[in-house]
Symmetry: C2
Subunit: 346 residues, 2 copies
């Protein structure tokens, strides 16, 4: 079977069948933002890994090595954040193209180490190899929980409110700016680009949310809201209803889309790489959540069905089709190839 | 500075300067076979990672996906073995070339899972991406120690005997057989090829050796005896004297080299990828080691100097130059390009 037919998530389902979901000290195996292991009777160990490949995840023509190091750490830090954990130990492996200089590699490591330091983690190991193709990064990050509490994708319950922690779509718009080769002339453009190149994982917020007993499920928005909400619904066996007018959009994204006559919602739904957290919580916990001093946007609620729906400004519902990045589908990244409002296809 | 001037180990020295060698719960950071973390007051957590890149570490024209999965796990299992640890949890990331089928990927995972299962570890997570270049594997393996005992590269003491756990050079000869495209007609050739494609990490032996209090330093032979012994000497601040006639050579390697008029010692010294263990121990512990029912070959001793020397059959000493694989040196892999006896250069 071709991988383009199976898709990334079909492949992951097959791999999961080879590994125990739970066994012994493995509390959660393949399929969440991080694996969960019992470390001590009162503490959990979290383990996550992400690979970034030149030409797929980044393009060195507009990504400097420091930013690449930062982002490579940040995407892993964000996975630990999405479990409500504290990042601790990092292993960084590189496949280094022949053209790289020692200075570029050290810039990468300085960016990586800076992101780790900011969030309380340290570099403890890794591997360095030559790569005959492009530059390759593979990072594994270990984290810990305080107590045995962690938030999985699978905990959402019908009636839960759905929250996100910040504006969505900025990183995708920033990527587009970079891909179009436009220098960041305006402050707004620089902000969008920064959101793409140097994402800020929501580590402290994730830990605070996980402490609220009525918070039930959490994920970080890496693939895009439409895809990541679908992951939560699939793992939890529930559906969702999202109010499109409740999705937070930054002033920078609105202004850019208004100028280009584009629909900002497309970026927010399918863009990905914002690394905000999405979580669900019992409505009874809204007051407790509001006290956390975290940006919170309630964008909809979890339903009994199995489908994700979205209402437009006139209250009309339609299916929210996951259109985030899939590594093996022929249409690949939604950012680059999926239909967009304004492109005449919708 | 060019990486080809700095070399792989020069680069690692620079990266080490960015990370704590020891701090808090990090007992050993970058620079050994695995990082060592305090997990509980009485237990250590080990973490190791290795990346394997098509065209550098393997060639799909003669490596089947099952063997690749096995070997990718085995090289990491061997790092845990070299610390005296017990392998436990594995994260496997793949960069998958466009031409791969779902069946090939599942064969990879079955090989990987089989090796993990044999040595008591399980797959708990990973990442799957598309790769525009070749196939890429990155594995992180977590292990544990029983008690706080682990064997580092840095523990060797002058006077220690140097032991290896099995015949060296077979894997390099097996690689050469594969590279020369010769089908494995003879049983001997198949044995050498098997040693290259499906190495057996010495996990149980590593654990048994680590329990002997007079065992001081350990490493797995992945780069080649000359390089890996140099790592031990450098980290321990000592030298070594190796007796060339004490280095164990398999009958298969001897027979092949005799037929081709090659020097088997070259493969044993510089070939790499045998994944036998090299360790040093106080001579007073030789009797205790012999009782372990492990193949043990005493190949020399640790000295006060800083240089690694080797004696030939006539007792003449010469310097044992590390000629194992370096990812960034211009001459690259010793297996493919370094001078060989019989090539007319020596």
């Amino acid at each position: 079977m071709k991988l383009s037919e199976l898709g990334e998530f079909g492949l992951i389902r097959r791999i999961r069948a080879l590994a125990p979901r739970r066994s012994g000290r493995v509390k959660t195996g393949i399929g969440d933002d991080a694996a969960v292991l019992r470390q001590t009777p009162s503490e959990l160990l979290l383990a996550t890994t992400d690979m970034l490949i030149e030409g797929v995840h980044f393009d060195p023509t507009y990504t400097d090595f420091y930013s690449l190091g930062w982002k490579s750490a940040a995407v892993n830090l964000s996975d630990i954040a999405a479990m409500g954990g504290r990042p601790r130990y990092c292993l960084t492996s590189l496949g280094i193209s022949r053209s790289c200089t020692a200075e570029q590699i050290m810039k990468f490591y300085r960016g990586c180490a800076a992101a780790l330091r900011k969030y309380g983690a340290v570099l403890i190991g890794g591997d360095t190899c030559s790569s005959p193709g492009g530059f390759i990064v593979s990072i594994t990050l270990l984290g810990e929980t305080e107590g045995k509490r962690r938030l999985l994708r699978s905990g959402a319950r019908p009636g839960d409110h759905i929250f996100v922690t910040g504006a969505l779509g900025d990183a995708a718009a920033g990527l587009e700016l970079l891909q179009n080769g436009g220098a960041a002339r305006s402050r707004a453009a620089r902000t969008l680009i920064e959101r793409h190149l140097r994402p800020l994982p929501r580590v402290e917020w994730g830990r605070a949310i996980a402490k609220i007993q009525g918070a039930h499920a959490m994920i970080d928005i890496s693939d895009g809201l439409s895809s990541d909400l679908a992951h939560v619904c699939e793992e939890s066996g529930v559906g969702a209803l999202v109010r499109s007018d409740a999705i937070p959009l930054s002033g920078e994204l609105r202004a850019r889309c208004s100028r280009l006559k584009q629909e900002p919602l497309w970026y927010a739904l399918h863009g990905g790489e914002d690394y905000e957290l999405l979580f669900t919580a019992s409505p009874a916990k809204t007051a407790a959540l509001r006290k956390l001093d975290i940006p919170l946007f309630e964008i909809g609620s979890i339903t009994r069905g199995r489908s994700c729906l979205i209402t437009d400004g006139h209250g009309r519902k339609k299916r929210l089709q996951p259109a985030g990045f899939d590594h093996f589908r022929k249409d690949g990244s939604s950012v680059r190839t999926a239909e967009r409002p304004g492109s005449g296809k919708r």
